[in-house]
Symmetry: C2
Subunit: 231 residues, 2 copies
């Protein structure tokens, strides 16, 4: 049985984009799994204290703590299940997309989503989150949230390469969804689960692709709150 | 015989990144070709006036005028030569990278390279280039060039996804160079050919990969001035 540890807010909302990459990967491979919720104060208790971030995956005796490492492990450990990566070129593509998400999408999303994230957190996490964000940005999270309109405009520009692919292909991975899609999807899913549903215009090809991703695996990512349990 | 039309400055310097994509693609496929230099005033004369930008490629009766279309044509027309793309996933990867170059790399590079580009152009093109750039940016090209240090810093940040791939792979296409590499290489080669050789620190993995790209095909892209003639 596979277990993943996931940062969780009120109402069972799993909001870490890095955890969502692994949730989508596990569904893609058709593997059953349980999700164990943690919060900022209990991350340090995961598997004896070896980790300071999620996701962490346990599969039997194996414990792995980085979303990319987890996904390459899943392809190696379950070679007969559908592949997440199609060789070295595909791995290189996903490495690029992961860094693009971290450096181009996450900065605007972190501002756009700051109050919604705060509001779905447990009270103890709210205080920790506020302190860390105010330290990073040098202003109150309320003041930070006031800059969201400019960040929403910046997000639209930053999504241009995703749109360029979707003009010619149904999926970022090409003919069928795979890890390339799940990496970028998870950045947007993070904001969707905390309640931001208006980041994209409905006629935007990115919005339509996002809906296609959410509909995969029996709509596993369509639940307003919470990661699906099991495949 | 294949002919490509290329924007050319003094001393036979071919400086269009879009032309370089096609030059690298033709070498990759081992095809012989001739390069016909044009300048801004003669682009409109190419092949009877059907095009307003380069590259344009003629192969027998076929004339094609977009670098991506040219490269997919080359794979289709010469299927026995080494492939530029490895299927739909690879095409999707290159579409993403092409848009990433246009939206993330070209804006800082256009500022960093503005005076060097101007200085290698023929006098007639210099006047046209100055007018177009000053219209776009609203300042003289000399004033624009003074903002280059900030754009150099921005370029380093924008290259993060390229570095993320090169930490794990020798080439952006994975195990061997292909179109994914040539697309990003050509953006940096544009600045290299006009004389900017210090954009990257020598210990930067991007600099080392750029050198590996330049060394391909017998060092076809290592000549300080000019596109190679023939394969």
């Amino acid at each position: 049985m596979i277990t993943i540890y996931s940062l969780c807010g009120k109402d069972d909302i799993h909001y870490s984009p890095h955890v969502w990459k692994v949730i989508m990967a596990l569904h893609h491979k058709g593997l059953s799994f349980d999700v164990v919720p943690v919060d900022f104060s209990t991350i340090r208790d995961i598997e004896g204290g070896a980790f300071n971030s999620v996701p962490v995956l346990r599969d039997g005796d194996r414990v792995i703590g980085d979303s990319f490492e987890i996904c390459t492990y899943l392809d190696a450990a379950y070679p007969d299940a559908p592949a997440l990566f199609a060789g070295a070129g595909s791995e290189a593509q996903v490495r690029f997309l992961e860094s693009y998400c971290l450096t181009a999408l996450h900065p605007p999303l972190a501002v756009i989503a700051v109050m919604a994230m705060h509001d779905i957190m447990h009270p103890g996490d709210q205080a920790y989150f506020r302190a860390k964000r105010e330290e990073r940005f040098g202003v109150s999270i309320e003041a930070l949230a006031e800059t969201a309109p400019a960040e929403r405009a910046r997000l639209q520009e930053r999504l241009a390469p995703v749109r360029a692919v979707l003009t010619h292909h149904h999926w970022l991975a090409g003919d069928a969804p795979a890890m390339a899609d799940y990496v970028v999807f998870s950045a947007l899913q993070w904001c969707w689960v905390v309640g931001l549903r208006d980041l994209l215009s409905p006629d935007d090809s990115v919005a339509q692709w996002f809906s296609r991703c959410q509909a995969l695996f029996g709509g596993a990512a369509q639940k307003p709150a919470g990661a699906p349990r099991g495949a």
